[in-house]
Each structure stands twice: as structure tokens, then as C-alpha cells.
């Protein structure tokens, strides 16, 4: 038993060192991320099955989604992933201002992403493009999809996949608001930044999901 002199206040008594505690938390986070991947994989499998059954429908309907909006959103999310990685880099060097600045930038990028998502959704809703039974498109852009067989399935998959992804983005915004608050309060340092690291891992996963959603839904 060593003396309590070099004992970091954030070190739980059941861990030997801060490093061990950090590694254990991180492994736990990776396990959680796997459950997230499996959650989304159910939807990706549904997508694949319908695509294999009706490839021509999916190919035609990817044109119904605006690749410019999807593309801008991809860049916005990539930028937010970069600012998260940068915030971790800053706190590892004890730069608290850099941490808070980048975390706030991340929240802003996430907000831009959700705003564009809102524009896309409202554009579809106003033309009767709803998920499931409510599907009844009309108007110039969407009207001719009314009688395409399996178009409702495509849009349902689109809404469910992007919707659950959007919920993850909203959750992430909440987490980063909390991190910005704690970072500004001075809770984190190069010794202890586990919450920043783990939230970062979560955010990168949300980014990776979108990296796959964008080409699958908007492009091909």
C-alpha cells in the first residue's frame, strides 16, 4: 500500500492507476459502440435485402434525394469529427481553451447538420412523402414516385435510418454541451480527460454511420 500522496482525485479505488482506469473505460466504450453498430446493422441488412430484391427501384429513387444536401452534410459531419479529434489533442496538451473552442465548434457543426436534415425532411413531408402507410407523394419532384412499386419501402428505410442517426446526432449535441460546460469549469486536464475521449469515440461512430448512409441512400 503506497501513501495517498500521488492519488489523483478522479482515480477510483478499484483501479491501480489512472492509465488502467482510462483503458478500462475505453474498452467499455468500444463494447458499447459494438452494440451501436449492431443496432444500425439491422437497418443496413434491411436495406441490403430490399436492394437485392428490387435493385432498379433503389437505383432510381436515390435520385429522389438531393445529393448536394447529403454531400454538404457529409462534409459538415467530417468537419465535426475533425474538431472532436482536435479537442482531444488540445486537452492532451493541457490546452483547456482549445478543448472548449473545438467542442463548441462540434456542437455548431452538429446543429448545421440537423438544420439541413430538417430542410430535407420538411421538403418531403410537404410533398406527401412520409414513411410507411402515410406515403402519398404529389407535386413536381415527388409526384411521379407515387406509383413506383416499393418506393414506399425505400422512403421508409430512408426515414428510419436517417432518423435514428439524427437522434444520435441530437444526443451527441447534448453530450458535447455537457463537455463544454465541464471543460470551461476546468474539470479536464492531460491527466484526466476520459469523458472527452469516450464522447469523441461515440461521435466518430456516428460519423462513420453517415459515411455509409450517404452513398447508399443518396448516390447509388
Amino acid at each position: 500500500m503506497s501513501t495517498a500522496s500521488a492519488h489523483h482525485p478522479k482515480l477510483q479505488h478499484h483501479f491501480v492507476s489512472m492509465d488502467q482506469q482510462f483503458d478500462a473505460s475505453k474498452l467499455g466504450m468500444w463494447l458499447f459502440l459494438i452494440t451501436e453498430i449492431l443496432l444500425f446493422s439491422g437497418m443496413f441488412v434491411a436495406y441490403t435485402v430490399y436492394r437485392v430484391w428490387h435493385p432498379e427501384v433503389f437505383e432510381a429513387l436515390s435520385g429522389a434525394l438531393d445529393w448536394r444536401l447529403g454531400g454538404v452534410n457529409t462534409l459538415v459531419l467530417l468537419a465535426s469529427s475533425f474538431t472532436v479529434a482536435a479537442s482531444i489533442h488540445h486537452i492532451q496538451n493541457d490546452n483547456r481553451k482549445g478543448l472548449v473552442r473545438n467542442v463548441i465548434l462540434t456542437i455548431i457543426f452538429a446543429g448545421v447538420f440537423m438544420f439541413i436534415k430538417y430542410l430535407e425532411y420538411s421538403g418531403k413531408f410537404s410533398h406527401g412523402v412520409f414513411p410507411g402507410e402515410a406515403y402519398a407523394p404529389f407535386g413536381d419532384h415527388y409526384g411521379h414516385y407515387a406509383d413506383v412499386p416499393y418506393a414506399p419501402q425505400f422512403f421508409s428505410i430512408y426515414f428510419v435510418m436517417t432518423g435514428i442517426h439524427g437522434v444520435h446526432v441530437l444526443v451527441g449535441m447534448g453530450i458535447f454541451a455537457w463537455l463544454a460546460f465541464r471543460g470551461a469549469r476546468g474539470d479536464f486536464s492531460s491527466e484526466y480527460y476520459t469523458p472527452v475521449e469516450l464522447s469523441g469515440l461515440y461521435w466518430h461512430l456516428v460519423d462513420i454511420i453517415w459515411i455509409f448512409l450517404f452513398p447508399l441512400l443518396y448516390l447509388i
Binding site: W30, I34, L78, L201
Partner: protein
């Protein structure tokens, strides 16, 4: 930090690349190419942004196990859905292709440029 900027630029370039290649009709290659680029981008994020490249091996193993189980999920589901009804089928074509041929019109109409869909127009 320089690495992060480099990776970020790489991701932007790949995003532009996937948009550009999807606008060109490469026939059967469009889907695999888009997926390859997406996997490349995801790998960049995992290795550098999520820092698995320098991380404890066990985290990478956890990720690979996850990917393995997703592949099992996907592939074994497709064994069912892609060949449904074909176990007792002794014809050369799959049940799904036959159904497509029989229904003819609707679904195949989008693909009228390829020969197979044009055939059922007679009956």
C-alpha cells in the same frame, strides 16, 4: 495535429471522389466502388480519429469482432432472402428471376435498355 489535418483532407477528397464517380455510369461497378470508398473513409476515421492505430490492441479486436458478427448477420440473411424458394428448384434460373420475368412490366420497365427485360413484352 498535422496528421489530423491530413486525414481530414483525405476524407474530403474521398467524399468528392465518391460523389463524382457516382455521377458517372460505371454499370455494375458503381455500387462496389461507392462501398469501397466508404470503407476507406471509415478506416481512416477508425485508425486516426479514433486512434486505433496507436491504441491498445484489445479495442481493435473488439471492433473486428463486431464487424465479423455484422458480416455473419448480413451474409446469412442473404442466404435466405436472395435464394428464397430455390432449394427445391431444379430450373436453371432462380425463382426471383422467374417471378421478375412473369410480372414483366412494372418493375422491369425502368430497365428496358437491357435485353432480359425486353423479352416478356410478347405475352
Amino acid at each position: 495535429m498535422r496528421t489530423l489535418v491530413g486525414v481530414f483532407s483525405g476524407l474530403i477528397v474521398l467524399t468528392i471522389l465518391t460523389v463524382v464517380t457516382s455521377r458517372i455510369d460505371l454499370g455494375i461497378l458503381n455500387v462496389p466502388l461507392a462501398l469501397t470508398i466508404a470503407i476507406g473513409k471509415a478506416s481512416l476515421v477508425v485508425l486516426f480519429f479514433m486512434a486505433l492505430k496507436w491504441d491498445n490492441r484489445v479495442n481493435g479486436i473488439v471492433l473486428l469482432l463486431g464487424v465479423l458478427f455484422v458480416s455473419i448477420f448480413l451474409i446469412f440473411t442473404l442466404f435466405d432472402t436472395a435464394f428464397r424458394g430455390d432449394l427445391s428448384n431444379v430450373d436453371d434460373t432462380t425463382i426471383m428471376d422467374m417471378e421478375r420475368e412473369m410480372t414483366g412490366g412494372d418493375a422491369a420497365a425502368d430497365h428496358s435498355e437491357d435485353g432480359s427485360a425486353a423479352a416478356p413484352a410478347d405475352h
